[in-house]
């Protein structure tokens, strides 16, 4: 879907990105992470040509991005940023409908799409549609920013620290919504963050940048299990690495189907870290597991967190 081939970028003779090669497959949730100044924003903005690269090639759906007019390219990619940048003089409806309007959708279709997106982001359409951005809370504004990015069903969604300025509870909710939306729509996402826990939670692939180069790229589990060097090991947190490994896996991957246990059940989508927390808090070594609809489907044991159960060995 997006492919960087030996891409480089200089700012006034100083190399910000050096020989970056990376392929983001269709449907991937790719998270760029790294310390401040490592080139995350630069890498992201080169994709939609807000920043032009100096060396190498960047391909979008197989074609070089320079073969598209910048505006056309950007309309096919959603874009959401930390400062949100909602248009203050436009209502929520006009903000969300901005790209569809640029693409010439008929009014009724835009209206229906706005309703659909507001519902998807758990905002009551009739309450919010006609409001101006300054009458929204920070979390609501960020939701509208995400809705605007998603409005025209872009095949790629680019996000630069979209949840960076939010309180932990709101951030958590929006991360969950983002995962749900991405799973439902199959959109390819490239997201920038400096929060390793956010990366582990959201990413199907994490790309760690250091000084304009890729330090390591892989699934959260791969990176946590085998940091490529000291920098990555420090970055993913030496002492918390075990807990983060647990955060990178779902209860569904380690549970014993058909087994039973007593107590309030966990859901299959919960992370092993949440499971550990419950084991300790409830002082038990066995918990029942339910599926999304609330039906009991099995159980998980404390020991399964360390080693996959024998019957369903995980890779």
């Amino acid at each position: 879907m997006i492919r960087f081939e030996h891409v480089g970028k200089d700012y006034a003779g100083w190399t910000a990105i050096e020989d970056l090669s990376l392929t983001v497959e269709k449907g991937e949730f790719c998270v760029l992470i790294g310390p401040s100044g490592s080139g995350k924003t630069t890498t992201l903005k080169m994709i939609n040509r807000l920043i032009e690269h100096d060396r190498g090639r960047i391909l979008f759906e197989g074609a070089e991005i320079r073969s598209f007019a910048p505006e056309e390219l950007r309309r096919r990619m959603g874009y959401a940023i930390q400062s949100i940048g909602l248009f203050p003089h436009w209502t929520v409806e006009e903000n969300i409908g901005a790209v569809p309007k640029l693409l010439g959708w008929p009014r009724a279709k835009i209206r229906d799409r706005v309703t659909e997106l507001l519902e998807m982001l758990t905002l009551d359409p009739e309450r919010y549609r006609a409001r101006y951005p300054r009458h929204l809370s920070g979390g609501e504004q960020q939701r509208i920013g995400v809705a605007r990015a998603l409005a025209a069903n872009p095949s790629v969604l680019l996000m630069d620290e979209p949840f960076g300025a939010l309180d932990p509870v709101t951030r958590d909710t929006l991360q969950a919504e983002m995962l749900r939306i991405q799973a439902a729509s199959g959109t390819t996402v490239v997201l920038v963050t400096h929060d390793i826990d956010e990366a582990i939670r959201l990413a199907s692939r994490i790309v760690i940048l250091e000084g304009g180069r890729i330090a390591q790229s892989g699934s959260p589990r791969e990176i946590l299990a085998a940091p490529a060097n000291d920098f990555v090991a420090d970055f993913v947190g030496r002492s918390d690495r075990g807990l983060r490994l647990l955060a990178a896996e779902r209860v569904g991957d380690r549970m014993r189907r058909g087994e039973t246990a007593v107590g309030e059940p966990l859901t299959v989508d919960a992370s092993l870290r949440e499971a550990l927390s419950l084991f300790v808090a409830r002082n038990v070594d066995r918990l029942p597991v339910q599926d999304g609809s609330g039906a009991l489907i099995g159980a998980i044991r404390l020991a399964d967190l360390v080693r996959p159960p024998p019957s369903e060995a995980a890779p």
């Binding site: 807000l50 248009f87 640029l102």
Partner: protein, 249 residues
Amino acid sequence: MRRIDPLIPAAIALVALVLGMPALKPLFAWMFPDQARPLYEQDSFLSLTLDHLSLVGISSAVSVVVGVAVAIFVTRPSGRAFRPLAETLTAAGQTFPPIAVLAIAVPLLGFGPLPALIALALYGLLPVTEATVAGIEQVPAGVREAARGIGMSPTGILARVELPLAAPVIVAGIRTSVIINIGTAAIASTVGVKTLGLPIIVGLSGFNTAYVLQGALVVGLLAAVVDLAFDRLGGFLGRWNRDRVAKTA
């Protein structure tokens, strides 16, 4: 309790004064018992007001078109280098008092409305340019970036984001420019243009305080009405920025 909009009584008073000045003749006769002619009657106040307004209207239109165009140009990437020059020139336009511009323009262009128009247009340029530049620059960087990021064209960003967001500030600049010009246009009567300055100038040179008062009253009221009208316009253009919660649906 709803407060009455002061624009309405002010506008009514202006119309009444312009049309009903002859009816006030006894009042002025009583106020200025020594004057043989206590009311300016060479021209009707209606025609003077209309002439005054058209002079201000045309010169302000020129100021606005040129001022906004210059401001847009110097805030584009291609015109950024000209910004100091434009600022110096528009500031110079306001440094010369209009009477000096008139004094220079008359020998070149003769008497009549043209030198007056040029003097007023130059004089009104600075507030418009300054306000437009300030208005465009106060658009938050994040809004601009988002506009570019979602695929708006540079022209689209100017027309649909920058100018509408700058509109309240631009209108404030135009308001200053027009109000200054309503006052300054009175001076244009010195070069033979009929404006509401005529009774004032005739009155001053003929020691007729009544004429001065009549001209000044109408000019003052006119400025007040126009000022209030601009205030409403600015409020309307900046309605998205009000604290009141927007009506739903």
